[in-house]
Subunit: 275 residues, 4 copies
């Protein structure tokens, strides 16, 4: 997640003023702006959801359309302003939130040509991730970064694990295809692979389940395997999180103790005041 | 969980006596009182459950009503006494158990006006959490606090994780709505979001499951993602638990810091040598 | 798990001989005895299973009965001998395996009076836990004790967690009973509690699933909660296992390093040879 | 996973040249060869999958057959060359990838005699594990070894856990057979065991679910148990992973010990100071 720290406001006075309102939440107006934004994001998401419900759409079709227009217009102006008021425009446009702000707009304009894309407006929800900044929830933001970082750091291991899992599922699915020999839900190999993934991830819809005793025996083995395998991603992420718990650089100068909590002010081993 | 340590009995003799009976379990009468209480809580819970079963309710309707009256009366008197015998009444009323004791009573009185609220009596079960005190199970109580504290300390991270998960489910559900295009179980976006949550949490009822090959392919990706994501809350709580394996009784005498590791020799907040 | 270490053979020569055959696996005859035993346990278990399948029972009913008689007789004689050849008979009878050996016998004799108890013969499978001793698989046995010990050590926390979970499920089930108002699968509170447990443990059979939008919304919250809660037992056991990894008593005398693996012969910090 | 490090090319010039092309990816030709190989593996897997779909097979039957012939011929030649160009032929043939290369070929030749074996061609997918070498993704390879090693190291504990789990499932299944007394899905003990495994692993297809109140009560207990038990494999693997966060390249020069922690300064086996 690219942070927006390094954005610099333009020099003109009104741009600098707008910058504070739009990007910061340390003034009353900036706070208000963010709360309105949050409200509009939620409203927009709810409208898209409700539009998909025939009963509601029939009754409020026109209202929904008008509201969508208003919100989208507001977002469009906001997006243009966001670009205008910062000096390093590219930094914003290609930042994490810059891309999301953009993605939150296109579906609206695209939907004139391809109506189905309207539902992509739901991506606007991602803008909600800004929520923590709004209320100045630094602790929450840090914890958010903590989770994202832990996932990012273990992503390589998780990709490999998923590759293993996919190969495993493909092979198991194919074997099951031979075992169940074209019974309902196992008509083709891709179908059987679908079943294998449903089983190994312990989701278990039950829309496809083994029928023959041999198939059930096979499924039992797969389930037990899946039950043990689930430990792998957990182990990976847990190990990563453990690692990122303490300030790893901190060491007590006097006794060399390096097991120092983030909030410690004195060394718990020798009592020395920490820098 | 607010502890009831700091409750002080009133000065009058009989109030002091009642205080020991009601709040403590170190006398035979106090013990008896608590056992009776536990039994009544269980009885009350079972009665509410049985009342909901038509066959049982038909046969024992009158018995159930009478028993409910007796138990609720007992609880009411007990609640009043609990308030009477302590000096700092507010400390009790707004303590964790004080609120629960109150919540365990209202549904009974409310049910005269709104019969449906009767079932809220099931909240009486929460009173059972006092169980450990009754049998003086200090170790159990400490372990209970341990779990609660670990959850509390990681609650912020878990909230963020849930926010991520909800946004993720909403987006995935909407995409699936477009893919499965209104087939059974995917008629609306909210319906599809329900399916997404059922899938990503690996619950997998199977009341809604993908039908088209494209939808199944999509579901497979979601399941694999869910299988990896489950590692996150586990990692958070595990890391927290590892961290909190401290002597819960240890408190720094000087600054009152109670976050003290087992191997600490000095308080990490004020540097005082620990006993 | 009570170990059988402390059993002392009787003084008579033939009893001492039998003791070595039955209790130990360090002679060829002792080895043979154990392998035969293992084979009979497996055979007995399979027979009970097959007897429950009507097609098989019809065809092989007589064979099954005869085999069951032979195996049970063998086990009976073995049990008597096990008692006879040791001095401290009570130590055996009330040891973990002594009780299992006994439980493996009664169902056979009870089944003369109560035929249904025959199926309890399946408990014979527990005798298989002796398997590690047979092949002298010390490492496996140690790992088995490791798991049992970790579970035992965290059992108190897990009991509390289960108590929390049960109270939680009862309350959620009751609320759902009010929400779904007697629809299929939610006819009574106990039924709804069953659904709550099926959901919160992420089993999700789908025999009962929410029908109303309100019920689905409620279920979504429950699933997300269950998804986060699953972290608790994992965290408990993981923290426990981590704890039991190293010899916690070992400390390097020279540098005080206490992070010493079980298999270490030299301190990894200062290179000192460990005692 | 046997690594292919120790393969030595033959002395002849063209064999040495082919060795570099086939086994290494440090020349442009070697890179090209690997990419083609990867492409053919994927193509082969997809063809087998598509052949199992009647609609596709009807239309493209001949194309599929021809492509399969071409790819299998290519793989056959490649396999022969792989053996020819290395000196220590046995090292390759019995290495992890050597065996897989062989298994990827036989189904094709066997399918002339036993058509069903054709689907075993799906095992070709395992050849994809070479993927990391192709793109010189050392980090990915190390992480892959990390996961495999963690699983290998905890495999003994996981086997024991699975043995416990199987015994547990058999016993629970048998008890449930007695409880549900031959109702749908519980007709025989093996059927009931199938249900027990489906439940305890939290897969929960729902093709079999308890019907009687007694059975549901029993199932609830099993689910709660399964929910707690899932912590065991997770704990095992997590503890193992924590343990193995070492620099995988570090090896003690004196004694060859490769189990070296990141923070170790001396070899824990022989006490040698590490570089």
């Amino acid at each position: 997640m690219e942070r927006e720290h390094n954005l610099i406001p333009e020099d003109t006075l009104w741009k600098r003023f707008l910058y504070r309102v739009i990007y910061r939440a340390d003034t009353r107006l900036g706070m208000l702006f963010d709360v309105v934004l949050l409200f509009l994001i939620l409203a927009s998401t709810l409208i898209v959801m409700m539009e998909s419900v025939p009963q509601l759409d029939k009754r409020f079709h026109f209202t929904f359309i008008v509201l969508e227009w208003i919100i989208s217009l507001f977002f469009s102006i906001e997006y243009v302003l966001r670009i205008m008021v910062v000096k390093n425009k590219k930094s914003y446009i290609f930042s994490f939130f810059g891309i999301i702000d953009f993605l939150a707009l296109i579906p609206f304009y695209l939907s004139f040509f391809f109506p189905i894309t309207k539902y992509f407006l739901i991506f606007r929800m991602l803008r909600m991730l800004r929520i923590f900044r709004i209320f100045n929830l630094l602790d929450f933001m840090n914890d958010g970064y903590f989770i994202v970082r832990a996932l990012k750091n273990s992503s390589r291991k998780i990709y490999i694990f998923l590759l293993f899992l996919i190969i495993f599922s493909v092979i198991v699915g194919s074997l099951m295809f031979m075992v169940e020999g074209g019974r309902t839900g196992f008509e083709t190999i891709p179908q059987s692979i679908y079943w294998a993934v449903v089983t190994v991830t312990t989701v278990g819809y039950g829309d496809v389940s083994p029928i023959t005793p041999m198939g059930k025996f096979f499924a039992v083995i797969l389930m037990l395997a899946g039950y043990s395998i689930i430990a792998v991603p957990t182990g990976i992420v847990t190990a990563e999180m453990r690692n990122k718990r303490q300030n790893l650089e901190k060491i007590c100068e006097r006794c060399g103790n390096d097991d120092i909590d983030d909030d410690a002010r004195y060394c718990k081993q020798c009592g020395k005041k920490l820098a």
